[in-house]
Structures are given as C-alpha cells and as structure tokens.
C-alpha cells in the first residue's frame, strides 16, 4: 500500500530539508574569505598533483561490472527475505543453492586474478 510509505516519504523529506538547512546555515554564519591555498583540492593534506578531473584507470570498470552482477543478485534476495518466515527451511535451501552457484562465479573471478590490481 502506498500509504505505508508515508514514513519513508517523511524521512526523505526530512533528509532533504536537513541537508538544505545545514548548507544555508553554514552560508549564513561561516565567514567567507577565500585564498588560493584554501581553494586548492584536498588531497590528504599534501600539495595536489594535477587536477581532480582526470581520466581514471580503465581497470575500475571491471569492478563496476562485477558489482552490477551481484547487485542483480540482491534484487532476488529482497522477495526472498519478505517470504522467508512463511516458507521456512525450504526457502533457505533454495537461496543457498542460488548463492552457491553465484559463489562459483566469484571463485572464477578470483582464480582468474580479475580482482588483483596488476
């Protein structure tokens, strides 16, 4: 029922308003005196090398794809978690098989060395 989500909506609204409030408050009460050192990118306290907008290493994309696969897995965990209590042990075995099959995928990725940064 959509009305069950009234609290979620309230939570969302409060979250957005809180962030806006904090930003406006800091704009109002914080002094604003910029200088080149203050406006520099923060890089763990070091003097930054180059710009923030750089081309990232293509290797990251592989991690993103692996993330997407396991994200789709989570989609199936959701209805399973909702009916878990009513179906009991049967549902547990089913999900165990489901995750075990995907675990082979993770082992394959691991053995292939795709998780290693070469």
């Amino acid at each position: 029922m959509p009305s069950d989500y009234a609290y979620v909506g309230l939570f969302l609204l409060f979250g957005v308003l809180f962030v806006l409030f904090v930003f406006i408050l800091s704009r109002l009460i914080a002094p604003y005196k910029p200088n080149p050192v203050k406006k520099e990118n923060y890089e763990c306290g070091e003097v930054p090398i180059g710009q923030g907008w750089i081309q990232f290493n293509v290797r990251y994309y592989l991690y993103a794809i692996i993330f997407v696969i396991f994200d789709v897995e989570v989609v199936f965990l959701f209805p399973w978690a909702v009916v878990y209590r009513s179906l009991g042990f049967f549902a547990f075995i089913e999900m165990l098989i489901f995750i075990a099959i995907l675990l082979f995928g993770l082992i394959y990725v691991w053995k292939k060395g795709a998780l290693k940064w070469v």
Binding site: Y61, I69, D71, V74, V75, V82, E94, I97, L102, Y108
Partner: protein, 165 residues
Amino acid sequence: MENGILALVFYIFSGIIVGSGIMVVTLKNIFHSALFLVLCLFSVAGIYILLSAEFVAAVQVLIYVGAITVLMIFAIMLTAQLYSTSVRQSNEQVIPGIIIVVTLLVVTLVALSRTSWRVVSQGIEGQTTISIGKALLTTYVLPFEVVSLVLIAALIGAIIIARKE
C-alpha cells in the same frame, strides 16, 4: 483526503522527474547530467510505490539508481580528455534530438488517446512483494535457480571480454 495526498505526491514526483530529465539533457557538465539522471530514476521509483508496485520500485532503485548509473558514471570518469578545453561541452545534435522527441511524443499521445483502457473495479490489495516472493520460491523455483546461471554467464562473459585487452 487520501486520494488528494496521493495526487499531490504524484505531481511532486512527476515534477522532479520532468525537471531532472530536462537538466540531464541541458547541463553542460556530463557528470552533473549523470547525477540528475540518478534523481530522475529515483523519482520514478516513487511513482512505482504510488502504484503499489513495491518490488518494481526496489528493482528500480537497486538496478537503475544503483547499477546502471554506476556504470554510466564509471564510463564518464574513464573517458579520456572529457574535460579538456579542446572538447566542446555542448550538445551538437539538438535539432535531430528535438525531431525524435516530438515524433515520439505525438505517437505516444495518439496511441494513448486511441486505446480504450480497461479499468479494474478493485485496486491491488495487500503487499505485492509477498506474492512475488511466494511465486518465485514455489511455482517458479527452476527459473529462479536458472537466473543465477544467467548471472554467472554474464559475469564470466564480462571477465573474458575485459581480460583480452
């Protein structure tokens, strides 16, 4: 009273969807476009909640807001020279884009107005996720387990393609 609130929430979400959609296609910084796309897709999940489709809303948040936009943002960040001054940061396909969008709008409007919609007298009762979960784990167990094989095939395929280079 409740219908009024639901209508109000619908219009708020629709406004956010249309507004952020316009921002996606008009902003100069493609990274900002991707972030507005997140807002747009997230508001679509709100519309699904209004339609009592909780599972679809959860899928929308997990897959579209979570996975698809992560891939897009990664693709943007991995693009070479995206922010160099030699690349023009504007859409050069405005006119073909407008033609396609207007055609799509006209076709959709014609199709919507010519279809006689069947109205169900009773709305969806209870929580739809429970019925989906039960069907998935009892009647459709085999397709459910096969899904993990499909996922594993996608994973292995992605690794093989990515490792070649």
